[in-house]
Symmetry: C2
Subunit: 330 residues, 2 copies
DNA sequence: GTGAAAGCGCTAACAA
DNA sequence: TTGTTAGCGCTTTCAC
């Protein structure tokens, strides 16, 4: 059914090495024979087998995308970004949902290495540095939303601590005196950093505060909101670890007839598409998910070409406060 | 670094064929040598190269998932379902965002065939039957959210037309007299079917109606809502082609101070996680996305084992009306 | 039961 | 400039 390099060689009346040369555009081939070979390839609708090719050249044009959960809009956007960038370069991406679990990350890293993926992009990875090193071993890798000092691995991230600080300060600037923070999963480095930012902001001001644990999912924001807002003295400002949870808080407030921003200010993180359209529109800290995905792939691609692989590039995005109704106190 | 079958053979003091036999558990191997080989494999931490293996056996333990857009929560859930099911069987999934574009679907189908994917799951595919046939050609395939009469291809779906009818009738039952439907992209078969259901429901009742085109994204629901609800005589019931757009309508209504369900009833489709938590909680038609993804993979897996591949299995889910506040008129 | 050898489709020396 | 040949790591006859 599909043809091999041999068929092409025979049809073009040349040796298989010559065909290989025109496929890979390396070595010397006279323009004339090249043309004949191309014609033969076209005629047979020939495409070289990546399997055979990979076997000898160790190149598979495949990368792994290790992500906590595609069902989270932020990660989904990142995934779209890398996928679009990858396909543009002829690369294929293997989807790996880690569910925030270190074992799953390990399992995948093994699988990817075994399948000869050429590189991996790890988003919001939970693994500790040492297991990352193991994970990474032979493959070039770039981290998204996770800073790393590991030599030879790139990262694209934004300073989540700073972002958390920005959000917190904004709440304080707007007059909040009793703050709450809904944190993300404890194994998310981004979540931890945002929380640190929160604590930093708190320390400088004379306000009371508390932290409730969430998991980055809508529901946990809603639940946390319900709990916090039914207290005797509810907070007057909430910084949620991500937008999804912030929206949950908005809904909890709505069902409790607590008005935003009159009685309560809410700010999220990520600036997902939804943030602009919820009621009231949500203030947040911007992270350009799609863009980050694209850039992560481009960095990886560059690194895959590079023999030495010793560079350690970091692309940092500035956390940007996006102010909308939800923190717009008159 | 990684070891080959040869190393194992040498260490175990046997031939490579024997090693191959114990890997694949076929052919005769004495329990004794088998044990020795296993020990050697363990000792070397050996895993066979899928590349070499695939080259000879045509098996890659890889499938393609062609999906319009992972950034859509419904599709993301389906993706999680198939990924979870796939990894459980040792399969790897290649992510293919088609963006609803037929060319992209074609491009991917070519790529997947070329890379020796063993099967593909196509979700909400837009391709016409004929190009599907071409797409499908050598590979087993299952369609999700897209019914097909193509021989040899399975599908898992729910009757979207019926679901659309259900939603529409519910609105009418609740006393709506001026209905609107926000449709999904015209190239989505599911969207078309839901719209048909809407028209069917309309025909039986004596109500006025109209259809506004959307694209299944949040923003288009919001925009459509803004347009419809600022008319002189706005509709009193809206059936959105999916939940994401329905939530957009909710927000549009909120910002226009239109009360739901007092002044307007809204119903969506899909029953995504968010639907339960928006304000007010959204009535919708249930489609078990995650489950559908799982089942799609299981069907595909079965078909991949099957030599003949001639069966045509269909797994249908009953569209289920989920009633919440957004259509709960007193 | 087990090993030697051929070959999957390709790339990369090495000759010519 | 081009063809021949030796593998890449594995599966699978076919002898023994």
């Amino acid at each position: 059914m599909t043809h091999t390099i041999k068929d092409v060689a025979k049809l073009a009346g040349v040796g298989i090495a010559t065909v290989s040369r025109v496929i890979n555009q390396n070595g010397y081939v006279s323009p004339d024979t090249a043309k004949r070979v191309m014609k033969a390839m076209a005629e047979l609708d020939f495409t070289p087998s990546p399997l055979a090719r990979g076997l000898v050249s160790r190149k598979t044009a495949t990368i792994g995308l290790v992500i906590p959960d595609v069902a989270n809009p932020f990660f989904a956007e990142v995934a779209r970004g890398t996928e679009d960038a990858a396909i543009a370069k002829g690369f294929t991406v293997i989807l790996c949902n880690s569910d925030w679990k270190a074992e799953r990350e390990k399992m995948y890293s093994k699988l990817l290495r075994q399948k000869w993926a050429e590189g991996v992009i790890a988003v919001g990875s939970r693994s500790s540095e040492s297991s990352l090193r193991e994970l990474i071993d032979p493959l070039p890798m770039v981290f998204v939303d996770r800073f790393t000092m590991l030599p030879g691995s790139d990262s694209v991230w934004s300073d989540n601590k700073k972002g958390g600080l920005l959000a917190t300060q904004h709440l304080i600037d707007m007059g909040c005196r009793k703050l709450a923070h809904i944190s993300g999963p404890t194994h998310s480095p981004a979540s931890i950093a945002r929380q640190k930012g929160f604590l930093l902001g708190i320390k400088e001001a004379n306000v009371s505060w508390e932290i409730v644990k969430g998991d980055f999912r809508y529901r946990s924001g809603y639940d946390a909101g319900m709990e916090l807002l039914t207290r005797d003295v509810p907070p007057d400002g909430i910084f949620a670890g991500n937008d999804l949870m912030a929206v949950g808080i908005l809904q909890a407030a709505a069902s409790l007839h607590i008005r935003i921003p009159d009685d309560l200010l809410v700010i999220g993180y990520d600036n997902i598409a939804m943030a602009e359209y919820v009621a009231p529109p949500l203030s947040t800290v911007d992270q350009p998910a799609y863009e980050m995905g694209r850039i992560a792939f481009d960095m990886l691609h560059k690194k895959m070409q590079d023999e030495t692989r010793e560079s350690r590039n970091v692309r940092e995005f500035e956390p940007l406060l996006i102010l909308r109704e939800s923190t717009n106190r008159k």
